[in-house]
């Protein structure tokens, strides 16, 4: 206290260290866990709930779990999770009914995809332009031939695709096509041209007013009725288009929110320099609007990733469907908890990475022009 009592000349007060109770571990605990009687009570209640849930979960999933190989539920003698089933069904869960000797093609496709995406998303990797050209123009062609066959490779019908592979194909095509579509729809909704504006509004409002399940039903059952005789699209392509259009409508509204936050002065500044509509939007408006919209856009992407499970109702068996049917196998009856736990972990790891990346991106872009 002597320090505080000490007098200093006006304007000559030295900087002093904060009191010990405000910094370090003790300071953190005081601020975050025990800052008031109510907070202290909540801390103890929360600790008790964690104590009730976490140890049994760890016991079930890890300690009392069955890890060994086996061919039926009989191999799972311990009381915990039956990971044996996941081991036995791993091929089905990952590739569906994709022929076992051709599964290397799926592996190659996704290794390429993850390498290219990593190169695009990680800041330090150079030559972004070439990676972008590869990922958006060349890779889709390669992926199509590798997965579907052709060019001398054996044809694998999309009805044989399944499991995680199908989930990732649907999610990737959905995300990559729905973002640009959503941007165009958002711009269209704010267009000065009435025809474009009303078409955009009509599309967005129609799609948002209909559940995805009915969009998928329409795509797989109703849509073919309107096509001329003999002309038909692959069922999976129709599901892809359905998911992409559905997601685009939601993303359009998220981006429209971002566009509305851009001050009129930005448009006027850009116009006064002679930028035309597209350059103004691409260089000035969208970079700022998309930055604001990142949380909403990633939210939509995560929703899309989850929504891929709905293709089950048009007969495509993706990861969740495959896990359920595995647990329904007479040999593996009673393993549904394990199956759902496995699926949850896989979904969580993908969606959590998306969420973390979006937070990283927000921080990075924020650093760029902080006030």
């Amino acid at each position: 206290m002597a320090d505080i009592a000490q007098r200093h000349e006006p304007g000559h007060h030295p900087d002093m260290a904060p009191p010990a109770s405000e910094i370090g571990v003790i300071g953190w605990l005081r601020r975050n866990l025990f800052s008031s009687p109510l907070n202290t009570l909540l801390t103890f209640v929360a600790s008790y709930i964690i104590y009730l849930i976490v140890p049994p979960l760890i016991d079930w999933a890890l300690i009392s779990a069955n890890w060994g190989p086996g061919t039926s539920k009989a191999a799972c003698v311990k009381s915990g999770a039956c990971w044996t089933m996941i081991r036995a069904r791993f091929g089905l869960l990952m590739y569906g009914f994709y022929p076992a000797d051709l599964r290397w093609r799926v592996d190659v496709t996704f290794v390429m995809q993850f390498v290219a995406m990593g190169a695009l998303l990680i800041e330090k990797v150079p030559n972004k332009k070439y990676w972008a050209i590869f990922f958006f123009l060349i890779y889709p062609v390669i992926a199509f031939f590798l997965l579907y066959g052709g060019l001398g490779m054996l044809h694998v019908d999309t009805s044989q695709w399944g499991g995680l592979m199908l989930t990732l194909v649907l999610a990737t095509t959905g995300i990559v096509t729905s973002l640009p579509l959503g941007i165009l729809l958002a711009l269209g909704r704010r267009s000065n041209l009435p025809v474009i504006r009303f078409l955009s509004i009509g599309f967005i409002e129609f799609v948002r007013g209909v559940p995805l399940i009915s969009v998928l039903f329409m795509a797989s059952v109703v849509f073919p009725l309107f096509l001329p005789e003999g002309m038909n699209f692959d069922k999976l392509v129709r599901a892809m288009v359905g998911i992409a259009l559905f997601s685009a409508a939601y993303i359009a509204e998220v981006i429209r929110g971002g566009l509305q936050a851009i001050p009129k002065g930005q448009y006027e500044g850009a116009m006064s320099l002679g930028l035309n509509y597209w350059k103004m939007n691409l260089l000035i408006v969208l970079p700022q609007a998309l930055k604001i919209s990142i949380p909403g856009i990633v939210n939509s992407f995560i929703g899309l990733f989850m929504d891929t499970t709905l293709v089950l109702i048009v007969g495509q068996i993706e990861l969740l469907g495959m896990a359920q049917s595995s647990a329904r196998d007479p040999n593996w009856l009673g393993t549904i908890n394990t199956a759902l736990a496995f699926v949850s972990v896989v979904y969580f790891s993908f969606c959590f990475s998306m969420s973390r990346y979006s937070q990283y991106l927000e921080r990075k872009l924020h650093r760029g022009h902080k006030r």
Binding site: L275, L283, Q288
Partner: protein, 260 residues
């Protein structure tokens, strides 16, 4: 020009070449008649200050010159290009007409240098290196070359406005429009912006400036225009405008802004 004051001193050449012609221009916002029969001819090299009470249509008038606002009747010709609904003509005019705004309107997601080179690169198709070289030259001219790598949000208001002026100059415009460039600035930053504008005027740039800085009008303008209720009430050289205003409305306005 016989006045022995300010920039006119420099024996500035005002040519006979017409830069901007406004002929019987009317504009409405819905039912509200904002511009009423505006007739204005601006010659190459002229420096015009427009003043008047708020809501008198001064900003609207200069915003019509680069078609940020459209007029409903009359004819506006800028550098021999008539402004109408033709988007090509509008972009042609905007390329040649620089504009500085009250709130700067810099692009916050780009560095100062990127703000300056954006339009030369994307509109004039200038190579990046050349655009950057020119941009640094203009930054030196507005006296902040050391801020090139910063973002607009890191600069003071006066510095931002000088960047905005440099950004317009990078397009090598034939006319510069200033829409109350110092109204949003802290008092101690007004001078640094006005100094840049005075220097620009001395270089022979055709300028139209909406401002309440009457000192600036006296030193720099060769014509002062007074607007009220959407019409041009009076225009004269600064000497006569300030010392011997003709209309009662002008006298009232001047007495209010000069004596407080």
């Amino acid at each position: 020009m016989g006045q022995a004051i300010g920039v006119s001193d420099q024996a500035m050449q005002i040519s006979d070449e017409v830069m901007i012609g406004m002929d019987g221009v009317h504009k409405w916002y819905g039912q509200f008649h904002v511009l009423k029969d505006i007739n204005l001819t601006v010659h190459k090299g002229e420096r015009i200050v427009i003043c008047g009470p708020s809501g008198s249509g001064k900003s609207t008038l200069i915003r019509c010159i680069n078609r940020l606002e459209e007029h409903q009747r009359g004819k506006i010709v800028v550098d021999k290009v008539e402004l109408g609904n033709d988007i090509k003509n509008i972009e042609l005019v905007r390329r040649e007409v620089g504009m500085v705004f009250q709130h700067f309107n810099l692009f916050p997601h780009l560095t100062v240098l990127e703000n300056l080179t954006l339009a030369p690169i994307w509109v004039r198709k200038m190579p990046r290196a050349q655009a950057e070289e020119a941009a640094m030259l203009y930054l030196k001219r507005v006296k902040i070359p050391e801020q090139a790598k910063k973002y607009p949000g890191q600069l003071s208001g006066g510095q931002q406005q000088r960047v905005a002026i440099a950004r317009s100059l990078c397009m090598n415009p034939k006319v510069m429009l200033f829409d109350e460039p110092t109204s949003a600035l802290d008092p101690e930053m007004i001078k640094e912006v006005l100094d840049v504008m005075i220097e620009l005027a001395q270089s022979g740039m055709t300028m139209i400036c909406v401002t309440h800085e009457m000192g600036f009008a006296r030193t720099v303008a060769n014509r002062v225009i007074f607007m009220d209720c959407g019409a041009i009430i009076e225009q004269n050289d600064p000497e006569r405008f300030f010392n011997n205003p003709q209309s009662e409305r002008t006298k009232l306005f001047l007495s209010q802004i000069l004596h407080h």
